[in-house]
């Protein structure tokens, strides 16, 4: 049997919205990650969690400025990484960055 290696893509992103990865952003992340067939692993410091599990993603407690490593493994890994990077770094989960936040 001819076994093809699954494509693996990995990227590091920074949390830029002021409130960090709280439950609502975590849900957005899981929603997008779940649209892809690839396995998604997210790690921060020493924790590595399933990017499709809302409980596990919330457990990362990734505050503003935290770097996350996102790894996708599967046929659509490249597209998954692209979509997730856009959500975290460009859309910033549709939330304000730190500088624009009024106390």
């Amino acid at each position: 049997m001819n076994v093809m290696a699954k494509p693996v893509f990995e990227i590091e992103v920074k949390i830029r919205n002021a409130d960090g990865l709280h439950m609502r952003p975590a849900m957005q992340f899981v929603d997008i990650a779940s649209q892809f067939a690839s396995d998604i692993t997210v790690s921060c410091n020493d924790n590595a969690v399933d990017g499709k599990s809302i409980m596990q993603m919330t457990m990362l407690a990734a505050t503003h400025g935290t770097a996350l490593k996102i790894k996708a493994e599967g046929a659509d890994a490249e597209q998954a990484i692209k979509a997730l990077r856009e959500l975290v770094e460009e859309k910033m989960f549709d939330e304000p960055p730190l500088s624009n936040k009024t106390a």
Binding site: D19, G20, H22, M23, R24, M59, T63
Partner: protein
């Protein structure tokens, strides 16, 4: 951060009177109010804020638990109230199953990082099958109190 330092032991309700989501939230907020843990806010305004947040997206993440929460400017510190329902409450959970344990988390608006750490702490315990099982089976305030204290000391719980 210890979960026993987050939980307000005077706001543990071993049997929620309400079998509805908003009623259960209000009971827990009222208990925190009675324990003087709401800063300058009234129980009514905090309950309203929690319910508004809950309406945006359910915090019932499955496995019989829900973690309703909100950040509010008038709160002084992160605080947790715990309620249990043997009948089960409809939280419009992701897995569509009833909720038997409600962990309410309130945090001050300005401390987003502490809020995240509190959330991490709560889910670290809720992820464990034993912790969820024992919480669901606890019938008195003191049983829940013991469970919370033990959870800090025994990471396998």
């Amino acid at each position: 951060m210890k979960i026993s330092e987050l939980v307000c032991f005077d706001a543990i309700i071993p049997e929620l009177k309400s079998s509805e989501r908003d009623g259960a939230i209000s009971e827990l907020v009222a208990a925190l109010g009675k324990a003087s843990r709401l800063g300058g806010a009234s129980a009514a305004e905090i309950a309203k804020a929690v319910i508004k947040r809950e309406n945006e997206a359910s915090t019932g993440l499955g496995r019989g638990v829900a973690v309703p929460h909100v950040k509010h400017a008038k709160l002084k510190d992160s605080v947790v109230a715990i309620g249990r329902s043997s009948a089960g409450i409809d939280f419009v959970s992701l897995d569509k199953q009833p909720v038997y344990s409600v962990i309410l988390l309130l945090s001050p608006t300005e401390d987003a990082d502490k809020h995240l750490q509190a959330m991490e702490n709560i889910f670290r315990h809720l992820q464990r099958d034993n912790f969820r099982k024992f919480l669901r089976q606890s019938q008195t305030t003191s049983q829940i109190k013991d469970l919370i204290k033990e959870a800090d000391e025994n990471p396998s719980l």
